[in-house]
Amino acid sequence: MSDNGTGGTFSAQAASASYLLGLGDDALVYAQSLGSWLTWAPALEEEMALANVALDLIGQARPLLTLVGQLDGTGRSEDDLAYQRDERDFHNVHLVEQPRGDFAREMARMLWFAAYHRELYGALRASTEPTLAAIAAKALKEVRYHFDHASQWVVRLGDGTQESHERMSAALSWAAPYVDELFEDDSSSVSAAGTGLGVLPSTLRPAAQVAVEAVVTQATLTLPPPSRWRSRGGRDGVHSEPMGALIAEMQHLARAHPTATW
């Protein structure tokens, strides 16, 4: 995958694999980030809810990464891809690799990511790749629940106490610079959309934006104005500082015992 983004010599199949790698890595890395809430959630019930979301995402990442290994010709398994790649070979967006902040931040992140995911999987049900269409149909039900969960909390925190209102507002401002990257058309998504396997991320934004704005309005909040800085580069393997530590924690056991089974 090292020639991603260089255009020209890129075969359609490799572009499809690269596109799917982005989808699979988003789910995998966000699941790992959510895992850091275990023992830290505000209540036991919420810890279960966050873990459930993470498990849904791992369930999405597994078949996506398996499909990548089949399409890119390397024959790598889901485990090879999850545990044996280095940071620069991960294609997830920066939003999902950010470390755990306060609970409001997690709900702001989940609101945006689930809004994106809902539109994404809704569109991918019509993918020309039957396996991807099937994954999308199953995952859509899951991410609808993720959006609902985040919505419930954003409304309660935004329309709660003065303190929770301010922290939810700050959380939306924190998430804002990472949102554009979700809906950015990179070379592999343009190629995947061209073959009918994928969908252009930019086409997902209007509906996702409307959904998020509706929740934010109900929460008596407003979305922040566009920030001067925005994240970019995740789809090309260029990540932010927390990614290295996240990968190290996720991979260290598999790397220490490469052929271990249980």
Partner: protein, 95 residues
Amino acid sequence: MSEGTLPLYEVFVRAKRGLSHVHVGSVHAPDATMAVRNARDLYTRRQEGVSIWVVAAADIVASSPDEKDSFFDPAGDKVYRHPTFYNVPEDVEYL
């Protein structure tokens, strides 16, 4: 938001159509809407149900253990309340 400040809700799950909702446990939640969601995450992880009810634990009026003697013991010697003194006709299968 410590757990102690969240109200308790009792959770009832219907396993499938035709069965009644059965008490399965309780959850903490800020309100009833969230309680249904927390119950979904805690008690239907393995497809245990098709419907969930929650009731604020504070709204449940219960009999007291102190009243056990006067409430339940008087029924102990009234065996005639059990429908076991009838001869069931042979042709009636589903009585």
